[in-house]
Structure formats: structure tokens, C-alpha cells
């Protein structure tokens, strides 16, 4: 039996009728049409489906859409402001933080969460903060570099009183 679920996705209020067994990741991709959130595994391990729910990074494959009732969900599509990439997106671009790009949305959302909790992380803290995300081609070195670069730029932007682009912060 379908149930109504009402939530906010990237700032837009939505209401849909869904089966309780529909996973949040399938809701985002198939119902909301936001295919930036990827599915990389079937075992809650890879983190490609990471989104923010009420500001917290979660694996959207391990949450039913009905559980997001009244929640604010943010996906990779919600980060940029027009043509202006979020600092993390820009940093992944600048530092070659991706190769095939499949895991990238999950890494960036996990990175957004990490920097919301710890705006100036060490390399070790970045590694621990991203332990729930797997990359199978770029390797992690440039990903760590990207997050560090974004942290510095976001810190500098904040210091200068310039608003940082949208995000979970």
C-alpha cells in the first residue's frame, strides 16, 4: 500500500505517494529525477549514494523514502548556485579529484558534511571523514587534496566575510 511522503529536496517541497519499501536513493533518482546520486553497491558500503538528510550525511540506500518525512534532503544537484560550483565541486575539478566520476557525488556530499563538522580538518581527519566512501579509479590522494583545498578556500571566503555557496553549512 502506498503512503504519502512530504519532504524538501534541495529547497523544494515535494509530496509523493510511495511504497514503504522504496529506498530514498530510488526515490531521489526515479521519482524526483535527480540522478546525480549514484548507486554503486548493494551492501551499504560504497557511499556513492551519500546525501544530506537534515544536514547529516547518510547513505540514501539504507533509508526508506518514508523515513524522510518532513526532512530536508540535499543532493549533489543542490550544491551549485547557477553556474557557480560549490567550493568542493570546484576543488575536485581543480585537483583532479575524480577520474570516472562515479563515486564523486558521494564523496562531495560526505565532504560537505565533514567540513560542516570540522571546517579545518587534517589529512587524517579527512581520511577518517571519508572512510564510508569508496573510489576504484582515481585513488584517494587527489580526493584528500581536493577536500583540503576546499576547506582552505571556504575558510578564506568566510574570513573575508564573503558568503560561501549553498550547502549544508
Amino acid at each position: 500500500m502506498k503512503r504519502k511522503v512530504a519532504l524538501t529536496v534541495n529547497g523544494s517541497r515535494r509530496e509523493d505517494e510511495v511504497e514503504p519499501r522504496l529506498l530514498l536513493v530510488h526515490y531521489l533518482r526515479d521519482v524526483a529525477g535527480l540522478t546525480g546520486t549514484h548507486i554503486g553497491c548493494d551492501t551499504s558500503q560504497c557511499g556513492a549514494c551519500t546525501v544530506l538528510v537534515d544536514g547529516k550525511a547518510v547513505k540514501s540506500c539504507t533509508l526508506f523514502a518514508v523515513q524522510a518525512q518532513d526532512a530536508e534532503v540535499e543532493t549533489i544537484e543542490g550544491l551549485a548556485t547557477g553556474d557557480q560550483l560549490h567550493p568542493l565541486q570546484q576543488a575536485f575539478w581543480d585537483n583532479h579529484g575524480l577520474q570516472c566520476g562515479y563515486c564523486t557525488p558521494g564523496f562531495i556530499m560526505a565532504g560537505v558534511y565533514l567540513l560542516s563538522q570540522n571546517p579545518n580538518p587534517t589529512d587524517d581527519e579527512i581520511r577518517k571523514g571519508l572512510e564510508g566512501n569508496l573510489c576504484r579509479c582515481t585513488g584517494y590522494v587527489n580526493i584528500i587534496k581536493s577536500v583540503k583545498d576546499a576547506a582552505q578556500k571556504m575558510g578564506a571566503a568566510k574570513g573575508a566575510g564573503t558568503p560561501v555557496a549553498a550547502g549544508g553549512e
Binding site: M1, R3, E19, P20, R21, L23, H26, D42, T43, S44, Q45, G47, T50, K56, A57, V58, K59, C61, T62, L63, F64, V66, Q67, Q69, A110, Y113, L114, K128, G129, E131, G132, N133
Partner: protein, 269 residues
């Protein structure tokens, strides 16, 4: 995979959850953090007819100290245990163990009550609960940890019984939990806990059998003055671990001895 269809209801109080569990009967399951249940449902290893979602129950989300005990509500997430000053001051080993459960995404949702109810042999909190004589409090009764973990994935919980709270003694003396694993976010291949309580050591092991193990032989050896190295030799006494993809039975017994020694040494350092 897509989980099998189920009925779904949200509970906002323990009372309401109890009523829903009674109404749905034996094939219903409680949905807390969902980080063991939902993967099992996706593999269709678990096909509950109904889920009672207890996440909206605010009364199960607290960490307090009362009467010399640390009381943790069932819906407290790993991330809360990891960061809680109350936990760090009163039972630091619990905060340290929480810090190493899964990854950020898992820690944001997984709950202590869920870990207890699920009773995975590789769960870390059950080992702490066992060696510390913690209690698991439900909507019906209080269970001593030593009577709670009956077998792998098996507890005395009835179908309409809901874990509400875990009560730990306060223990802020020397302690160490060592979790041996191949990747950061993995479950323990073997885990070893050492915690000093009232001048005596409590020693326990994770994932060396269907339930957590309290290593009384090691505790006794330490009490009679044996060195950590000599005492830890007893860590594999009576163990009969099953082999799995990651470790043979002999290797797990070896790890039990080595990790127990390291846990005692590092706790004492």
C-alpha cells in the same frame, strides 16, 4: 535489490510502538537506525511483514548519569556516543568504540538499541555490555547483558518487546578496545576489550563465537599477578570460533591472545 513489500507505521511513543508490534504480530520488525536491518532486507535475508519505525520516539533519545549509572536511550546514535562529554567522562571506552563503528554515514543513523537487539556476533557494544554487567531495559523488563546475548542474532526479546535503554556502570579508569579489521569501516575480525573496574580487570572478546565472550581466565590470571603477556595466553582458552571469509578459527584464536595482550598493555600505559 529491492526489499520485499511490508506494511509501515511510525510510532511516536514507546506505548504506541508496543501497540503496533502487538497488532502486527510475530513477523513485524522494529526499524531503528536500520543499518543492519535494511541491508538484510535488501538481500531478502529478512522479509518482515511490517516495520514499526521508532525513529520519531523522542523519549528514547537521551544520555544521562543517574545513581552512579550511565543511562543511554535506545535511539542514541553512534555519533552521539562518540561526541558526548557525558559518555567521555563516565565511560570513555564506549565513546571510543562508537568512534570506530562503521563510518560517518553509518554513525549518523545506527543506534545503540539496534545493535543490542540485532545481536550480531561482531557487534562491539555487546562485548562492553557483557564485561561491564550492563542491563538492557525494554518496555517489559530488565535483562542482564549476560542473559541477553543467547546466540548469534538471538536474544530473549519477544516480538512485541522493544529495547528502550542500556544501563552501564560508570567506569572511567584504564581501558582499551582494539578492533582488528582490514578496512576502517569493517566489522571486527576479532575485537578485544580491557577495562579496569574497582581495581580489577574486565576482559572481553568480540567475534570469536556466536556471542560476545568474557575472558574470566584472563581476568583471574591478572588478579593473581600474572603479566599481561602471560595472562593473555588464556584468552583463547575454551574458544571455538568459526572460520569465515576473513579468518580461520586458528587465526581468530591467535588474534584473541595477541589483541588481549595489547589491550591490557595499552590500557595500562
Amino acid at each position: 535489490m529491492i526489499p520485499a513489500a511490508f506494511e509501515y507505521e511510525r510510532a511516536t511513543s514507546v506505548q504506541q510502538a508496543s501497540e503496533l508490534l502487538q497488532r502486527f504480530g510475530e513477523d513485524a520488525k522494529v526499524l531503528a537506525g536500520g543499518h543492519s536491518l535494511i541491508p538484510l532486507m535488501r538481500l531478502r535475508l529478512s522479509q518482515p511483514s511490517a516495520l514499526v519505525d521508532i525513529n520519531p520516539i523522542k523519549e528514547l533519545d537521551y544520555i544521562t548519569v543517574e545513581g552512579g549509572k550511565l543511562r543511554v536511550g535506545a535511539l542514541v546514535r553512534h555519533v552521539q556516543l562518540q561526541n558526548s562529554d557525558t559518555v567521555k567522562q563516565n565511560l570513555p571506552i564506549l565513546a571510543e568504540v562508537a568512534d570506530e563503528v562503521g563510518d560517518n554515514q553509518v554513525r549518523n543513523l545506527g543506534s545503540i538499541g539496534g545493535v543490542m537487539a540485532h545481536a550480531d556476533a561482531a557487534g562491539d557494544y555487546p562485548t562492553l555490555a557483557l564485561i561491564l554487567d550492563a542491563e538492557i531495559v525494554t518496555n517489559k523488563r530488565r535483562h542482564a547483558a549476560k542473559d541477553f546475548f543467547k546466540d548469534i542474532f538471538t536474544t530473549p526479546l519477544e516480538h512485541d518487546e522493544l529495547v528502550c535503554e542500556v544501563v552501564f556502570p560508570i567506569a572511567n579508569g584504564p581501558h582499551k578496545y582494539i578492533k582488528f579489521r582490514r578496512r576502517l569501516f569493517d566489522w571486527a575480525i576479532v575485537g578485544a576489550a580491557a577495562q579496569k573496574v574497582d581495581g580489577g580487570w574486565r576482559i572481553g572478546l568480540t567475534n570469536v563465537g556466536p556471542t560476545p565472550v568474557r575472558s574470566t581466565a584472563v581476568e583471574q590470571a591478572l588478579a593473581s599477578g600474572a603479566s599481561p603477556a602471560d595472562a593473555a595466553e588464556h584468552a583463547s582458552d575454551g574458544l571455538n570460533p568459526s572460520a569465515d571469509l576473513r579468518a580461520s578459527a586458528d587465526y581468530k584464536k591467535h588474534l584473541a591472545r595477541v589483541l588481549t595482550r595489547r589491550a591490557i598493555e595499552q590500557a595500562s600505559a
